[in-house]
């Protein structure tokens, strides 16, 4: 068995028994799956005049410019499209937080339990160890967002008008989940590796997640206020930028992941 797979197996066995970590990974997925359905149900009930909300009208205008056929749809359908599209963006928090949690718990946990020295005394290469740990974080985080998106799609199909799903699971939505999702997971775990080399506990290490959450929140708010609308072009530009950032962050992480550096310089 490849040593990468040996590490992967060990990490996942360990992860399966770390209930708190599993719950903290699943929580954002559950929240961002339920919240949009609550919103599309409650908003028309609580605020029948909400259709005249300035932000919503601006968004309708922006959406209408990009997709003129939306002007012909019922405002309730547009509300569904608007909210569900927004929350596709929020689903990206799932791979960000998931990969970051696993990577930081894995590395800081090894430091806290002093398990790294005997591990590094084996014939494993540090690149194999880093790859094993990275895959152990990136794969479940990515799978989790894909599963969450699958449930999201099923929910929209079951509970929303038929015009909504094709306009949510469109090239932008699919690009965000299947292209940007894995890339932000890798970026998140790469940052997790870097910051874990200095942090003494996983929670401190996870604060680096703000670096990724803030730009995502900025996009969410800008799109909500109708200042900006993600399209396929922006998704591709984002993917290229993330690919470059991933390469930089992983290179820095790999440089920190040397036997002597780990044993003598990590806090």
């Amino acid at each position: 068995m490849s040593l990468v797979l040996v590490i992967l197996k060990k990490e996942w066995t360990d992860l399966r028994r770390h209930r708190l970590l599993l719950i903290s990974m699943a929580a954002p997925a559950i929240i961002f799956l339920i919240l949009p359905f609550v919103l599309v149900t409650l908003v028309p009930l609580l605020d029948p005049t909400g259709w005249n909300d300035r932000d919503f009208q601006r968004m309708i205008e922006v959406l209408g410019r990009a997709e003129p056929e939306l002007r012909r749809l019922d405002p309730l359908v547009v509300l569904h499209i608007y909210i569900f599209r927004q929350f596709v963006l929020m689903l990206l928090l799932v791979p960000i937080l998931g990969a970051l949690s696993i990577a930081t718990y894995s590395i800081v946990g090894e430091k806290q339990n002093r398990t790294l020295e005997p591990l590094l005394a084996t014939p494993i290469e540090t690149t194999e160890l880093l790859l094993g740990k990275s895959l152990a974080a990136a794969i479940p985080a990515t799978l989790l967002v894909w599963i969450a998106f699958g449930l999201y799609v099923l929910g929209i199909r079951a509970l929303s008008p038929p015009e909504v799903l094709p306009r949510v699971a469109n090239p932008v939505g699919l690009g965000l989940i299947f292209l940007i999702g894995p890339l932000v997971a890798v970026l998140s775990l790469g940052l997790g590796v870097i910051v874990s080399s200095r942090a003494k506990d996983p929670r401190t290490a996870q604060q680096i997640g703000v670096l990724l959450i803030l730009p995502l929140m900025a996009l969410f708010i800008m799109q909500m206020r109708g200042f900006f609308l993600l399209d396929v072009r922006w998704v591709l530009v984002g993917a290229v930028a993330l690919l470059a950032l991933d390469a930089i962050v992983l290179k820095i992480g790999a440089r920190l992941f040397e036997r002597e550096t780990i044993l003598t310089r990590w806090a």
Partner: protein, 314 residues
């Protein structure tokens, strides 16, 4: 099995180990003693190919450090100061992980062998987090042995264990000698070193002394006979002083401490002289010094040689 020549490690301008030259023979248990910060753990890490020396060279099992590090890691087993086990994994899973990392062909059989040998088989499927400190230390030993290494590096293997568990671990280490493994034992426990080690090296950044405990004893204290008499008189003292082979005489109440070069040859003459002087001999024994006394004397001498460093260390 292990040979080092001028092995040196410097961290950020601070010397951790300086000019360490030693040879450890196959099947030998070699003790590495020294105060905190003396460079013991750094030495172990260098020999395990975990960190690179700044200068000097080392051969471990015929492999050159820095050139054949992966091969060195395959033939070395290490017990670190902390057991360093995965607490959510079971004892069996911990050992299987390492067996696979070391490329052990029949991992399951090896894991079973060492779990049984160290009396952990009955709790093989329980999470290590539920184990006592002693059980964790035994599991750490099993982990170090699961790939049948020729060289075993043990860094404080009995640290923090209760006397009963200390004995179990110590006896296990003694048994390993019989299997022909070469063992480097770092310890603060001088009694342990005395019981287990064939030779010891006292390290305080650089080597202070290297020899068998007996040879170090002779070198530092010479050989002394302690004679307990019913009564000590001036006549007896004069008679002993007059003996040409007596190197030194000290009186402590009714006990005489007499330094001799060759007690086996000189004792009968000494006893005869004492009786002729009217002494009533109650006991006669060779004075013994513990390894602790030898160790402390060596460190005191080192402090006299390097007073500035001793002052800064204190």
């Amino acid at each position: 099995m292990i040979a080092t020549n001028g092995l040196t490690k410097v961290y950020n301008g601070k010397v951790a180990v300086e000019a360490l030259t030693m040879e450890i023979q196959p099947g030998e248990i070699f003790g590495l003693l020294g105060p905190n910060g003396a460079g013991k753990t750094t030495t172990v890490r260098m020999l395990a190919a975990l960190i690179a020396p700044t200068a000097g060279e080392a051969l471990i099992g015929g492999y050159r450090l820095g050139e054949h590090d992966a091969a060195i890691r395959r033939i070395v087993g290490i017990v670190t100061e902390a057991p360093g086990l995965y607490e959510r994994l079971s004892a069996r899973e911990n050992l299987e992980l390492y067996a696979r990392l070391y490329g052990v062909a029949d991992a399951a059989r090896q894991v079973e062998k060492y779990l049984r040998l160290l009396d952990l088989w009955d709790r093989r499927d329980e999470p290590v987090g539920t184990f006592s400190k002693g059980m964790k230390q035994k599991l750490a030993l099993a982990r170090a042995l699961v790939h049948e290494p020729k060289v075993l590096l043990l860094d404080e293997p009995t640290s923090g264990l209760d006397p009963q568990m200390t004995r179990v671990v110590r006896e296990f280490i003694a048994d390993l000698r019989g299997q022909g493994r070469t063992i480097l034992l770092c310890t603060h426990n001088l009694d342990e070193a005395e019981r287990l080690c064939d030779r010891i090296l006292v390290l305080k950044t650089r080597p202070i002394a290297l020899d068998t405990p007996e040879a170090l004893h002779r070198r530092l204290f010479g050989r002394r006979i302690v004679v307990t008499l019913a009564e000590v008189t001036e006549a007896i003292l004069d008679r002993v002083r007059a003996l040409d082979f007596v190197r030194d005489l000290q009186q402590d109440g009714r006990r005489l401490r007499i330094a001799l070069a060759d007690p086996e040859r000189e004792n009968p003459r000494l006893v005869r002289a004492l009786i002729e002087a009217g002494a009533a001999i109650q006991f006669l024994t060779e004075e013994e010094h513990s390894l602790e006394e030898i160790y402390l004397r060596l460190l005191e001498e080192e402090a006299l040689v390097r007073p500035t460093e001793a002052l800064s260390a204190s």
